[in-house]
Amino acid sequence: MSVAATPDERLLVPDRPSYLGAGASLRSWFGATDHKRIAILYAVTITIFFFLGGAAITLVRLELFTPQADVVTADTYNRLFTFHGIVMVWFFMVPAIPATLGNFLLPLMIGARDVAFPRLNLFSWYLAILGGAFTVATLILGGVDTGWTFYTPFSTMFSNSHVFAAAFGVFAVGFSSIATGVNFIATVHLLRAPGLTWFRLPLFVWSLYATSLVMVLATPVLAVSLLLVMAERVLHLPIFDPAHGGDPLLFQHLFWFYSHPAVYIMVLPAMGVVSEVITCFARRRVFGYTFMVYALVSIAGIGFFVWGHHMFVSGMSPFAGLVFSFLSFVVAVPSAIKVFNWTATLYRGQISFEAPMLYALGFLGLFTMGGLTGLFLASIPIDVHVTDTYFVVAHFHYIMVGGTVSAYFAGLHFWWPKITGRLYPEGWARFAAILMFFGFNLTFFPQFILGYLGMPRRYHVYPPEFQVWNVMSSSGATVLAAAYALPFGYLLWSLIWGRRAPNNPWDATGLEWRTASPPPPHNFDQQPRIDVGPYDYHPEAVAPAPDQRPRRRQGEDA
């Protein structure tokens, strides 16, 4: 903890009741309506799913060490990558930041007592559990082999696996994310503390707001498309079956109309987290706050009109392809602006490199690479060659794992003292952050080359000339697995043996740091009033001095 804090902030008030101390019975947890407890429920759930999805892909990478089939059969392999995809996308990535960090922090950051609909919040967790139960049941019954994309007519008429149960699981968890979205939108609109105007909101709150809009508007389309898949599979309604005049391409349009915006559901909150972390550890106001807000909102908006870039070779009209290609280039602009602004935020800062900052800088590098390779995929002639190959696999892992998972870890470390009241071991955390960065690149960079060489995705066996790069990728995966196991170990350790955390260990400006660590059940003892923007670390015209204390913190009296 290199950031100085005043003695009164370091003082811990042990007799103060925290949300963690408000009962230990099963009922006090599973019937909790406190957003902080629900966030913990979500965190435990997604951690379990993260390791389940990780276990599946470990077997896949093990199989790919050699060109021949030697670990699992083709059918098992197909079930493994499908399980990995479904679990990681819907049960880890989509809820990762919004439902855990977002749930915990949104009311704290806007000075509210809870979210707008606390019971709906709990209900949405139960929906996620219901969906998760179906997905795990699918696995126990023998798995599903359609890929996470459920393409028709394979999923509706040809697959001999448990498509219905898997689709229903995803259908249920979809409603969970709609409920969360509705809840967050209402919370931001109705429960901001007095004086907390829209343009005084922290960027993390803005990102959650934009994400919630996408969740509410896009997820119903996913629900509809899965419903149609279930209807055709079980009731034999002719919807996608060309033999009855149906259209298999229709499913792809519906599916990607959700699943492309879903990428932004996963990455927008990550951008929010990184904005909080970089400003705090650079002791700088964020560069171009209003542009950052507009960029978030325009990514969320334009993101609805680029789904066709998943379908350039699908048989869609080539003219539609050109339009989608154009819009895909356009949607990359606001992301580029954000990268430039984060970089500019470092300028003339007082930068320190605690673990959250290392994770955030890792995000910056990996997200930039993921975004740039997105330009390759937006160019139709290149996409024709590399779509459905490992190039695409590498690209979206750079965005979703390199980007979102790095940011999730940045946020988890940054707010760990606030959430648990304990400090994590800094040395271990920095080591894990660096290991994760290198492990990630070793795993996924070779896949760009594999993809350009022409190795298709979802291949159980492959031509032998691809082996070198696959061995490299699988070796990287072992490093990455170790890097993910580390935080699991030391964060659990810190829950019991970690040092007690002060209220504001990073000397940050956000409202969430004005209350106790861990916060009391009602969040704030008195209603905070805000008359200042979110990142007032230094006077506007003067760069921060070496021992600069924040000029004004949100919720602090002038």
Partner: protein, 351 residues
């Protein structure tokens, strides 16, 4: 078969794609280097407590900066779009007179058929330096025809035709892979594309026992499946005549117009009630379940051959020199537009 970093380049499209890829690689390398070095320089120079001067923030306003780099980024991206799309638009339409090969995909094999008749499984022999147009359909799920060395890929769908084309530049043997996940043996749905010099290809073709025209097979089917009963010239049933039909635009009974192409003919055979040609009664039965995909392909080729200029079958016109299926007198009368067919009432013989 492929190099270490870049796959073998064996088609005209491969050269275009690689050029574009290289451009993007250099450009993103520059952007990446810019971002990484700025972050690195700032991280070192402005680390906490460093002696680098901070002082008053520079007078340049963030607004000007933001507008500047938003405009610059947009400009670069639009340039990329223009470059990539113009390459794409140019490659959209196959050159006239391309060799036409039919591809039928099924779990988990590729079936290909040459215009002269030879069929192959999981193999495709093509002449070098000749444009080849692929007309593809699937018998079950969605597959994707992918030849990395040619940088081409196109999904193959059930119930409709998709097409793509290439012009191979280098004789050799290349991977043919399925790129759209299609079930258990997706990874084993592989074949090879053999590119041969034109003379070798002609020799290979001539040596195939089934080197009989696709259109000729279609002509046989036209009779044996009963199409001729209504559609042959001189039939008493009032049905559209097919000579010269292919490639033309026909008015439909509901006022729309349709271009007669492979997809239209397929639909007319399988779903005849959908697009009724103007002036005819909807009396044709559906041939769904009666005709296989291969048979529809052959019938289409036959109908197409009836559209060739000066009464010469298209199959002959499209074939590379020296590969025509024999002199006209040795050919089936079915291939001559206007000639009567065996087994049907002779033209003009009706009462």
């Amino acid at each position: 078969m492929s190099a270490f970093f870049v796959p073998v380049s064996a088609s005209t499209q491969a050269a275009t794609t690689d050029r574009l890829f290289l451009l993007l690689l250099v450009l993103s390398g520059v952007i990446l280097l810019l971002v990484f070095s700025l972050v690195a320089v700032f991280a070192v120079r402005y680390r906490r407590g460093s002696s680098a001067p901070r002082g008053a923030m520079p007078a340049i306003l963030s607004r000007e900066f933001e507008i500047g780099w938003t405009a610059a980024t947009l400009f670069v991206f639009l340039f990329l779009f223009w470059w990539a799309s113009s390459a794409q638009v140019a490659a959209l339409i196959p050159p006239a007179g391309a060799l036409e090969i039919h591809v039928v995909a099924k779990q988990w094999m590729w079936k290909t058929q040459h215009p002269e008749g030879p069929r192959e499984i999981n193999e495709l022999h093509v002449p070098a330096d000749t444009p080849v147009r692929l007309l593809m359909t699937s018998e079950d799920v969605i597959h994707s025809f992918f030849v990395p060395a040619f940088r081409i890929k196109k999904d193959v769908l059930p119930g409709r035709y998709t097409e793509t084309w290439f012009q191979a530049t280098k004789p050799g043997v290349y991977h043919l892979l399925c790129a759209e996940y299609c079930g258990t043996d997706h990874a084993r749905m592989e074949g090879r594309v053999v590119v041969m010099p034109a003379q070798d290809y002609a020799r290979w073709l001539g040596a195939r026992p089934e080197a009989d025209g696709l259109a000729r097979e279609g002509a046989r089917l036209f009779v044996s499946r009963g199409c001729a009963g209504c559609h042959a010239p001189g039939s008493r049933v009032r049905a559209p005549r097919l000579a010269g039909l292919f490639g033309s635009t026909v008015p439909l009974s509901d006022g729309r117009r349709a271009v007669v192409d492979e997809a239209y003919i397929r639909d007319s055979i399988l779903q005849p009630e959908r697009d009724i040609a103007a002036g005819y009664d909807p009396i044709m039965p559906s041939f769904r379940g009666v005709l296989g995909d291969g048979e529809i392909v052959a019938l289409t080729a036959y109908i197409r051959s009836l559209a060739a200029p000066e009464g010469r079958p298209a199959a002959e016109a499209a074939a590379p020199p020296g590969l025509a299926p024999g002199p006209p007198e040795g050919r089936s009368p079915a291939m001559e537009p206007g000639r009567a067919l065996e087994g049907t009432p002779p033209a003009g013989g009706s009462p």
